[in-house]
């Protein structure tokens, strides 16, 4: 359980100071630990916030130029919406009074540090720093969705879905595990959210992609798959690098403490394992691509790096460096196999988010018991399935409700001319390609 964990960490810190005698009574040490724990949340949270930019660039590079401005707007606005919703209902729904149950309470969140300011540092960190760190995770789940359903979904219905996802769906399933609910009590282990964040985004995206249908022209008669290349590979690469950097905050910050030697040792291991898993993911993907296709498709190799990152996220603290490389490498290969598979199923996933976040999210969660003796394969499976079922059913409900009321898909004409002129009234690259300003 997320919150408890850091309190334990703070307690460990105290225990780790034998020369101080009655450690529990010593203010100064806990004082520093409180500062360091909070600062770790802020710095890590800022890195995770940066992942929103990574998703934006990755997706902007993987859609066609006529939809680039729209995907940029979706990404920056979904991050904003996630923050507001998590303040309005999400945080308390996830963390306030779950007590082994299924959800917390409703109500606005507000920072409360009276105890700490009065000299009682037992909370372990500033409440605002914790909120900030938790909030950026919500946005990540929503970012996953935007990539999959790009190039054909209407702007406002998409944002409405994000409201429900970040305000209701994510917090409730989060309450089960990180909030101290029933899954946590069962011993489900998901360090930084392979299931709780990435698969959640994946399931929501999967139902969306199915209900929305494929982009026009993506699938031809007789099982033909027509590739629709993305408009800018350097932007996609930049996005991947941004995500990789942000992931140090995502996994490293999930130590939930910095105020003890134990915490910083663990954080160091998490950083290096995160890095090695990503490295394993991209190298394995490249080798697989070379063998299968005789060419090394960059767009898929980038997915390989992200696959490694998602795969290690459920348990970055326990593997040895070598095991981290392997866990990531399996993820990298899975992505190379999963992308054409989804195409065979005619599920149109513009950026490969299903293969990366859903498939590898599941793999990463199930791989935890290999290196963590306390995790059980069965419990992990129960976690994966219950979260998957819950998110899929609710998401499908929301998508369908919108489909038959306000509509979720742009008209065929708008799809052909691109969402940018249709919904935003501008072009991403007016002077290039088909841009209207070329002749000025």
């Amino acid at each position: 359980m997320r919150k408890t964990l850091s309190i334990i960490a703070a307690a460990l810190l105290v225990l780790a100071l034998p020369t101080l005698g009655l450690a529990e009574e010593e203010a100064p040490v806990t004082d520093i630990a409180f500062i360091l724990n909070s600062f770790s949340f802020l710095v890590s949270g800022a890195l995770v916030m940066w992942m929103a930019a990574g998703f934006a660039m990755l997706e902007a590079g993987m859609v066609r130029s006529k939809n680039v401005a729209t995907i940029c707007l979706k990404n920056i606005s979904l991050y904003s919406i996630a923050g507001i919703l998590y303040y309005l209902i999400g945080y308390n729904l996830m963390y306030s009074g779950v007590d082994g149950g299924f959800l917390g309470s409703f109500g606005l969140w507000a920072p409360d540090d009276a105890a700490a300011l009065a000299g009682d540092y037992s909370a372990g960190y500033a409440s605002g720093s914790d909120w900030f760190f938790q909030m950026v995770f919500v946005a990540t789940a929503a970012s996953v969705v935007s990539g999959t359903v790009a190039e054909r979904i209407k702007l406002w219905p998409f944002l409405l879905f994000c409201v429900v996802l970040t305000g209701i769906i994510y917090p409730i399933q989060g309450a089960w595990s990180w909030g101290g609910g029933w899954l946590d009590e069962m011993g489900f282990s998901d360090y930084a959210g392979s299931t709780i964040v990435h698969s959640v985004g994946g399931w929501a995206a999967l139902t969306g992609a199915i209900i929305l249908g494929a982009r026009k022209g993506k699938y031809g008669a007789g099982g033909r798959v027509n590739p629709i290349p993305g408009s800018s590979m350097p932007l996609a690469t930049l996005g991947t690098f941004v995500l990789w950097l942000g992931w140090f905050g995502f996994n490293g910050g999930s130590v939930l403490a910095l105020g003890s030697v134990e915490a910083v040792v663990e954080m160091s291991v998490v950083y290096l394992n995160t890095n090695l898993a990503a490295a394993g993911g991209i190298v394995a993907a490249m080798i697989a691509l070379q063998i299968i296709y005789k060419k090394v498709d960059l767009s898929m190799a980038l997915n390989g790096a992200l696959a490694g990152l998602v795969s290690i996220t459920a348990g970055p603290a326990t593997p040895s460096p070598g095991a981290a490389v392997l866990i990531g490498a399996v993820g990298g290969v899975l992505v190379v196999l999963a992308v054409p598979l989804f195409d065979k199923l005619r599920i149109d996933d513009v950026v490969g988010a299903l293969s990366v976040h859903l498939v590898c999210g599941i793999w990463g969660t199930l791989a935890v018991p290999f290196t963590d003796g306390e995790a059980s394969f069965l419990t992990q499976l129960i976690g994966v399935i219950s979260v998957g079922a819950f998110v899929s059913v609710l998401s499908a409900g929301v998508w369908l409700a919108m489909k038959y009321t306000i509509g979720i898909r742009v008209s065929p004409e708008e799809e052909h001319s691109g969402s940018d002129t249709a919904e935003l009234g501008l072009e991403a690259y007016p002077e290039f390609g088909q841009g209207s300003q070329k002749l000025r």
Partner: protein, 112 residues
């Protein structure tokens, strides 16, 4: 020989290309152009100001063919490029005095 040139909607390119190859036309030259005509452009918005985009993206397909093939080519182009909606474009036929294949130096219809 004649050059048959059509200005069409971009998404019709594949169809026109397909029909021409079905006719056995072995080569063609395609370029991006902007059209201005009855079909009106769209309105864009930027920083609080709206404006009209007059020019619409079109594709030009040019084929040089022997005189006797002109009717077939024109018919194929018209059939494939037609959506019945404004802005479908035009076909123009113009005379060509001479044609040379650069690689071999062949001349006339043989060079096509």
């Amino acid at each position: 020989m004649k050059k048959v040139e059509c200005i069409i909607k971009p998404f019709k390119l594949d169809d026109v290309k397909g029909a021409l190859t079905d006719l056995g036309i072995p080569g063609m030259t395609v370029s991006e152009v902007r059209g201005f005509g009855r079909q009106k452009g769209h309105t864009e918005l930027y920083r609080g100001a709206e404006y009209q985009i007059d020019f619409i993206p079109k594709v030009r397909v040019e084929v040089v063919v022997a005189d006797e093939r002109v009717p077939d080519v024109v018919a194929a182009m018209q059939r494939e490029a037609c959506t019945g909606r404004i802005g479908d474009g035009k076909i123009f036929v113009t005379p060509v005095d001479q044609s040379i294949r650069i690689r071999t130096g062949e001349q006339g219809p043989d060079s096509l």
